[in-house]
Symmetry: C2
Subunit: 311 residues, 2 copies
């Protein structure tokens, strides 16, 4: 087994790349542009070239590379194929085969949110855990489930798609997925801002949020200032998310629940608020399960992708 | 590896025992009484004696026994210990060690609902699946989650305790677990009967259910006769259960969802009703996941316990 591995996190605009030692030490990280034109046909060849270039400049021969792990924004199945990745303009793609044919080292691929969860378990907020739920609160709500140290990819690559759990019967607007009342519509940055705008429009109640733009960040900032309107929005968010996490925890009963994504920059108040509702609804055996903040930020994907290789 | 194994399903009143060939053929099944007096100290020695007796009467030497799998009504952890099993009057118990010390063959133990799920995957409604959710609709609501062919025991032995997912904010009565609004309060036989009694008390509306005792069975019988009141109760049940299953399916994305327990004797109408609400709320990738009836009835536990040994 080689001393090194690569962790690759393919996003819609950039590909994050990491060269790691197999003990998880990050040697070097960098980014390349995602060329999604022409059905994204250049994306994987560009990744392969970036790896070959890095091997050359660092003087690491390919036979010292244990493998390449890749996280992709789409429903990657356990065999490393997917049928569609909208953000990359991909239809069916055999990620593993395409990269192995160029690189001749072992390749593994998985969904990017699942890979980020694996990264947080390896070197981040979930270090030491073996069973974990990670929820990523960004523009949308992503998730990753780890059972017995391994990603739960699911039968259709939909394992950990917890942003699309149904949490509200009375939602009129559709979610991006086509359903109505998904967790993502209330627990994402977008959802928090929408709930705040709804509150602002519903009355003339004074609020710090009337002073500038309304975003998840300004809502949490106002919450920290004990703004009444912002407090109602954050409590509503916390109730949806805490209750949903309590439901997920009776499914897999994790060691730890990790909260990441842009919204998690709100910090400990996020943990306190979501944790309060989580414990209200969690099954006895799971009530003490810790909620913690993610620690790797945007690097979670490259760490987790590398971990695909060394696990 | 021996040709035979035992599958043992320990219940509060009887212990179901099965002698199997390791290919899953049931050779013989029988029951012994569960002696739960004196903190249930006789239960495991009785099980061991039953196995030794069966080996003697069948002429199967212990060295032809690959092992003994045991399902227990309590939160069994991955190492085969549990801290408490109320129905057996057990406190802490190391099931594996206690039986191995007597029998000198490998022993594995797991939660009874999880073991039943494993049985249904091996030889029942989920045959051929590798990822499965099973829900057991009886006096309570139990569950078992299988990921990649293995039981998800969870960090506190609470994996698959899906009866205690929170599904209703407006429930006043407490669940047996102490929380309010658990799935079990609406999707169990007890919950269905309670919802029917509430409907009957709320008006003078004529209903077949006014003619005799009200139970999950009579509710489903009246539903099949297109009784309006029973239809409302069954639809409500189906909505709670279907929505909850859709939430669980974004966590583990199973190949198949198996419905068992006494309520599942209602048959195909159960699948149709629950499936309708499931598909309404399920994430796109999971909408076509099949819901099927359990097939092994009360034998699921002994099959699954045996499978612990041969997996």
């Amino acid at each position: 087994m080689g001393m090194y591995c690569f962790g690759i996190d393919v996003g819609g605009t950039t590909v994050k790349c990491g060269l790691f030692k197999i003990d998880g030490t990050l040697v070097e990280k960098w980014e390349i542009t995602t060329h999604s034109e022409n059905s994204g046909e250049r994306i994987l060849p560009d990744v392969a070239q970036a790896i070959l270039d890095k091997c050359q400049t660092t003087g690491i021969p390919l036979n010292q590379v244990s493998g390449v792990g890749v996280g992709v924004p789409g429903p990657v199945k356990a065999d490393g194929t997917l049928d569609c990745a909208v953000n990359l303009h991909w239809g069916y793609k055999n990620i593993v085969k395409e990269l192995e044919d160029i690189l001749h080292v072992p390749v593994k691929a998985a969904n990017d949110a699942n890979v980020a969860a694996l990264g947080e378990m390896w070197k981040g907020g979930g270090t030491g855990a073996n069973n974990m739920i990670m929820v990523t609160l960004g523009t949308g709500v992503g998730g990753g489930i780890i059972v017995d140290g391994k990603i739960v990819a699911g039968s259709h690559g939909a394992g950990g798609e917890i942003g699309h759990a149904h949490v509200e019967d009375n939602m009129v607007e559709p979610c991006n997925c086509g359903n109505r009342g998904c967790l993502e519509q209330f627990a994402s940055a977008t959802g928090i801002a929408r709930m705040a705008r709804e509150e602002l429009n519903a009355s003339q109640e004074p609020s710090l949020l009337r002073q500038g733009n309304v975003s998840a960040k300004t809502v949490f900032d106002a919450y920290k200032e004990k703004d009444d309107l912002a407090t109602r929005v954050v409590e509503r968010f916390g109730n949806y998310l805490g209750t949903a996490l309590a439901c997920f925890s009776v499914v897999v009963d994790p060691d730890v629940i990790v909260l990441g994504g842009g919204v998690s920059r709100a910090g400990d108040v996020l943990i306190d608020c979501v944790g309060k509702y989580y414990r209200e609804d969690a099954f006895q055996g799971c009530k003490d399960t810790q909620l913690v903040l993610a620690r790797l930020g945007n690097d979670a994907g490259i760490y987790g992708a590398a971990k695909l290789i060394v696990s």
